[in-house]
Amino acid sequence: MSKVLRVNMTDLTFKWEKLKPEQEHLAGRAFTSHIVSTEVDPMCHPLRERNKFVVSPGLLAGTYAPSSGRVSVGAKSPLTSGIKEANAGGLTGTRLARIGVRGLILEGAPPAASKDWYTLLVGKDKCEIVKKNEYAGLGTYDLIARIWKEYPSKPGIIGCGLAGQRLQKAAGVFGNNVENTDAGRYAGRGGLGAVLGSKHVVAIVSDDTGGAVPAAKENDRFDAARKTFVKSLDAHPITGKLKDDKGKPFGALKNYGTNVLQNILNEAGGLPTRAFHEGRFEGAAKISGEAVHELVDRTRAKHGDKAQGTYGHACHPGCVMACSNAVPYEDTGKLQVSPLEYETVWALGTNLGISVLKDVAELNRLCNDLGVDTIETGNTLAMLMEAGMIKFGDGPAAIAALKEAYNPKSYLGRLVCSGASTTGHALGVTRIPVVKGQSLPAYDPRPIRGIGVTYATNPMGADHTSGYTIAAEILGIKGKVTDPRDLKKADLSRAFQSTTAYLDSSGYCLFVAFCVLDDDAGFKAMTDTVDSFLGKKIDVTEYGTAVLKAERGFNQRAGFTERDDRLPEFFRTEKLPPHNVTFDVTDADIDAVFKGF
């Protein structure tokens, strides 16, 4: 029986609550956005006691459905001042789900003068709020190692690093990986790490001792569906097995990770390069997924058993697609960072003109250790470059700037953790790539205009995953669009955003989409797992639309209008080579996405 844990950080108390009838089918993003939109005053300061920090494992987390163990966190965002949900893999989704926790709501905050820091220990039918001042101020690599030493049950951990503890807007929520070697499983976006920091909580530790695999209402149907789904995923060239029958690389995600996109977007001319000045990067191949694959093979050959690099790595127990990786130092074969994925390589590499793989991985490691979102931080460093304070392409200078963040007295250190908008404005930059205060990710909206509409309109600020482009045919929407630069994007953007909201709530990783896109049996199996788990038929679009409505409603009450659904001016005025196009979707077309919401 799922329940909700409500923790009050003002008086350090907690209580268990039953799920309300209207919450029975809500989990993941649907749950966090439901709580934030119904319980948080949209006008509250996001870093004070009236905001709430909500955690919810996806609906199928903890079950044997493949790649379904994601966990969502939500709050009013200090970066966008609107509603926010971010999700990640790691252990926490599975651990919480197996002890029956559908949601964890952190509310209130210790008095402003308090210097105390806390850790939350959540177990089966138990919760402890433990004062742990010694955990504050640590880098996350040290922090997670200490926690596992102290709690040998191999718990899930999510928390905030130095940046979150200092209430900085680029702070993400870290999560430990399955091996506890890296805190790189980030629900990174929207500054939610700072919300956790405002509650004086460094870590939420979840222990599933005594727990059980959540049971589906229609168990036989669920079992059959999940098995069919595994087969579909395994057979697909994107999500499938590592090697084919001849021993050649097969599944793209397992072999190259999401960073297979580096070369593809480069060839498409939509890879934002050097702060969105160009659409192609001459150094893309050096930092691509293929380059990481080769580095791993090379260090394995050189260091044998001592080599810690890998690809085909699962970010949470039960992920069969395994797009994650562990990048080794070439000279020792030891782990440098895990994972190194596309958006990060773009933000900290391509976007900064840096093509030295080791430098990009080091920037990623520093972000993980400090507790900041890589996309936001990459865009922030790009503002330093745009302002002429660091040269584009200077990896060591970017690393030195980020290391400043360890010094609490460094102004530069504070700035690099404050997000691109704050930093860009402070430095007099007029090309700041943000929507609703949040940085754009790794697809330039000028040649890829549909994603531009999603950046502009989704309630979370510029976010590719919110309007993840599940193929239109899944939703039964067909048409005669023959040019990707076609301008009529409203219906599709809305449909994709709804479907994404459904997936973000199910616990499934968005990447199941590649398979369900190409395989009708896979799509049916996926929806069957959800329906049989709940014992009722869920309409994908209806479910997702309800989530979006709650989110848009919150933002409207927070004062957002259509004017906030706009890309920065320079995307309309500066042409992006090689296609030499601007973003010229009309405001009316953009506003059509949520007309009548």
Partner: protein
């Protein structure tokens, strides 16, 4: 457009090895050519290529040749190909490859992931679709 007999005839005689060797002559001035960027297992068409560097091959341009004809001339079948591009635009089988084009060939297991699915519908990874949608 200047097309010598060699530019028209030779390409169909080239086996893979010859094509690869031909690459080394390609930067010299000569008949119009197409610049082909290869990825994944297709890099093996150029001996000595590395996955962390650009792998580029130049082949002679053939007037009015379609993308399907070009790849077939290279000995590649549609099943071997993922998302491919001509000058940054997703290539369809019937597209004419212009002289001097930059063509990018990705193998079947390299396709656009999130943010790019709308560029699909090109007839390779999912043949029956007639739409380019998100």
């Amino acid at each position: 457009m200047a097309h010598g007999a060699r530019a028209v005839d030779d390409p169909y005689e080239f086996g893979m090895t010859h094509l690869a060797q031909h690459m080394h002559e390609a930067t010299a001035q000569g008949p119009p050519r197409i610049e082909i960027h290869l990825y994944g297992e297709l890099r093996s068409l150029v001996p000595g290529s590395r996955p962390d560097e650009d792998t580029v091959m130049w082949v002679a341009h053939v007037m009015n040749e379609t993308f399907e004809q070009l790849t077939s001339r290279m000995g590649l079948t549609p099943e071997q190909l993922g998302d491919c591009f001509i000058d940054g635009t997703l290539a369809k089988k019937s597209d004419i490859v212009p002289s001097g084009a930059r063509v990018a060939l990705f193998p079947y297991n390299m396709v656009l992931l999130c943010g790019g699915q709308h560029l699909k519908g090109h007839g390779y990874t999912r043949g029956e679709l007639d739409v380019d949608y998100y």
